[in-house]
């Protein structure tokens, strides 16, 4: 794994010469690494696998891929063809679930190979062993996320988040906050839960007591958020810089100012945090990608501005590579 320069250089360093461009043939909906292989999920249903040599294209879905999740072993995709598909690093894929005529709006990868998905107002949980279970929600499910420990599924919908314990008899817990909640994310230690909202704001709850955290001030809707390694910061898109909310204290970000890095006259469209260090990869609406070290704001250019927004961004598990994809179907892989 290459270290970043020890001190910020006078001119921004550039690694653009290491960028390997790829053509996806459809909008980049998401990207994840399985080992050394980057798997790009696209708007035309294909998964594009890139490592060394020619990229491989797998027709995983018959329509658009709408949601992407996964673990170290496989990538899960949900499509507008009503299928939940698991794809391995060797390119083999299996249909895990299917609901004909519906869109799979959200997928999530759980502990020990369990997974969840949603279509309309119903969330589905598939344990490793035993029968799948379902939970009906009061409105359409927009986001799903498994807690880092135990089998607990956060389900984002209108007016809040439902916490479902599919293996327990306990009634689901409801965390209420008015508005449309879309994405949902757990703090790596399970102490906080954060949603992206239809409004340009985040909402959060401190667990287990459910105290509210309101994080607003964005000029546009937040589409991308991730905790840094260890969970000290929550990196978010939506503004003309990466907004990093501090989560090192028990109170979370309440009453504190966020840290801001990577300011430009262009909005951040995607963020991805280094798996071990406090470094964030930041994609902008003009297609530029920077690596930014949080403690001093040092920047390295990975991809020069082009035309289309970065819509997918991910680090390899060892921090040795970054993959990025754009709305107009371009992609890139940088081995650091």
């Amino acid at each position: 794994m290459p270290p970043l320069p020890p001190t910020p250089p006078a001119a921004p360093s550039s690694l653009t010469s290491k960028l390997r461009p790829l053509d996806l043939g459809g909008e980049a909906v998401g990207v994840r690494f399985l080992g050394q292989v980057a798997l790009f999920a696209t708007g035309n249903g294909a998964l594009v696998l890139a490592e060394a040599g020619e990229p491989r294209r797998i027709a995983a879905h018959r329509g658009a891929i709408l949601s992407v999740a996964g673990d170290a072993r496989r990538v899960l995709t949900g499509g507008d063809d009503g299928r939940v598909v698991a794809t391995l690093g060797d390119g083999s894929s299996t249909t895990l679930a299917e609901q004909k005529g519906r869109w799979i709006d959200a997928v999530a990868s759980g502990p020990d190979g369990a997974f969840a998905w949603s279509a309309g107002k119903t969330a589905h949980f598939h344990p490793v062993k035993g029968e799948p279970k379902t939970l009906d929600l009061p409105s359409t499910v927009a986001g799903l996320a498994f807690a880092p420990k135990g089998t607990r599924l956060a389900i984002a919908h209108y007016n809040g988040v439902t916490l479902w314990f599919p293996n327990a008899v306990a009634t689901p817990e409801f965390l209420e906050w008015k508005g449309s909640h879309r994405g949902v994310l757990w703090h790596p230690e399970g102490k906080f839960l954060v949603t992206t909202m239809q409004e340009p704001a985040l909402h959060g709850w401190r667990l287990p007591e459910g105290a509210h955290m309101r994080m607003s001030g964005y000029p546009s809707r937040v589409r991308s958020m991730q905790f840094t390694a260890g969970g000290r910061y929550l990196a978010t898109s939506g503004s003309t810089e990466v907004i990093l909310w501090p989560f090192m204290s028990r109170e979370g970000p309440m009453g504190k100012q966020p840290t801001m890095v990577g300011q430009r006259d262009m909005r951040v469209s995607a963020v991805a945090c280094h798996p071990k260090e406090e470094i964030v990869a930041c994609g902008y609406e003009d297609g530029m990608v920077l690596l930014i070290r949080i403690n001093d704001g040092a920047e390295i250019l990975l991809r020069a501005p082009a035309a289309s927004p970065i819509t997918a961004l991910a680090w390899r598990g060892d921090g040795g590579a970054v993959a990025m994809g754009t709305e107009d179907g371009k992609a890139g892989l940088v081995i650091l």
Partner: protein, 324 residues
């Protein structure tokens, strides 16, 4: 290679009370050989007779935005569906949103002004309402939804004209005009109409607001004055003062936005060579300088409101006070 689409995708909203002929119109649009492909958002599956993999079921989930605008309701399901459809852009030429017979068109229309992505990638083309020539009169009496749909429409298909006499048809048209004197009305049977009269209307396109000419049929608005829902229109050949007009209109829609369904205006401001055009849906206003007034064009400012319980005298007084 994917199409690089630079133009916004037009969206047509199809409304109409139960049984008016909405689905028949939709099936016509989808089956006629016009060479265009549409993504369709429907509420009841199975009614569409056309095989189309771009038909999406919706749940009409309306929610309030937390933006201080009390009547700012949007269709959250539509935002997500359009986000999803945009992943397949290049595969279709337009989107048609069919609402249920009981739906209020406002949240659908407001969705296109409130959500940034939806607004950036798509454009609301027109609200098309299919009305049953035989039964509309009754529905206007007993169904507030039917009245909303007429008041909100840019295009109205007065359908099933074969089931009414000529004088009954005239009568129902006058009732429509009493509520909405601006929509384009087409008489149809079995929703039979050339699709270029339904699609590509540009009704919300500020560039295409050319004139506001209320079609007050001879005495029609007097005979069938609808006490609850009506339209009012004022004009002035004297230029307006923008420093008076903008505070007035913004305060007005904040206060009365619940009652004002649609508003539209072409304005001449003092010392301003350009026409200023605006339109609104409840509390949401959208306006811009359009083009210079022509040399031989009368600089007439005209403004129109369609809504419930409109206080004509107060509106007129407010408008007149904006004259420079």
């Amino acid at each position: 290679m994917p199409d690089v689409q630079t133009d916004k995708i037009p969206v047509t909203v199809l409304t109409g009370y139960l049984g008016a002929g909405k689905t028949t119109l939709l099936n016509r649009i989808l089956s006629e050989p016009h060479g265009k492909k549409f993504a369709v958002v429907v509420n009841e599956f199975g009614e569409i007779g056309i095989d189309n993999d771009l038909v999406v079921g919706a749940d009409e989930e309306v929610f309030e935005m937390n933006n201080g605008c009390i009547c700012c309701t949007v269709r959250g399901d539509l935002i997500r569906i359009i986000d999803g459809l945009l992943k397949r852009k290049g595969e279709f030429d337009g989107i048609i949103v069919e609402t249920t017979g009981l739906a209020d068109p406002a949240p659908v229309a407001q969705t296109f002004f409130v959500d940034e992505t939806v607004g950036a990638k798509t454009t609301l083309d027109a609200v098309v309402t299919v009305a049953d020539a035989k039964w509309l009169k009754d529905r206007l009496k007993d169904a507030p939804e039917a009245k909303n749909q007429i008041a909100f429409a840019d295009v109205i298909l007065l359908n099933k004209t074969d089931l009414v006499t000529e004088s009954e048809l005239k009568d129902v048209e006058l009732r429509i005009r009493a509520i909405n004197p601006f929509a384009r009305i087409h008489h149809t049977q079995r929703s039979n109409i050339a699709i270029d009269r339904v699609l590509g209307q540009g009704a919300f396109d500020l560039e295409r607001i050319t004139a506001i000419d209320p079609d007050f049929l001879e005495g029609g608005h007097k005979h069938f004055h609808d006490e609850e829902m009506k339209s009012v229109s004022f004009s002035s050949d004297k230029p307006l003062d923008p420093d008076r007009f903008f505070p007035w209109i913004q305060e007005l829609v904040q206060r009365e936005g619940i009652n004002i369904l649609r508003s539209k205006g072409i304005l001449a401001f003092k010392d301003d060579p350009d026409r200023f055009v605006f339109q609104g849906v409840h509390m949401i206003l959208d306006g811009d300088h359009q083009r210079p007034w022509g040399a031989d064009e009368a600089r007439l400012s005209r403004i129109v409101f369609i809504g419930r319980q409109l206080d004509t005298a107060a509106l007129e007084k407010g408008f007149r006070a904006c004259i420079a």
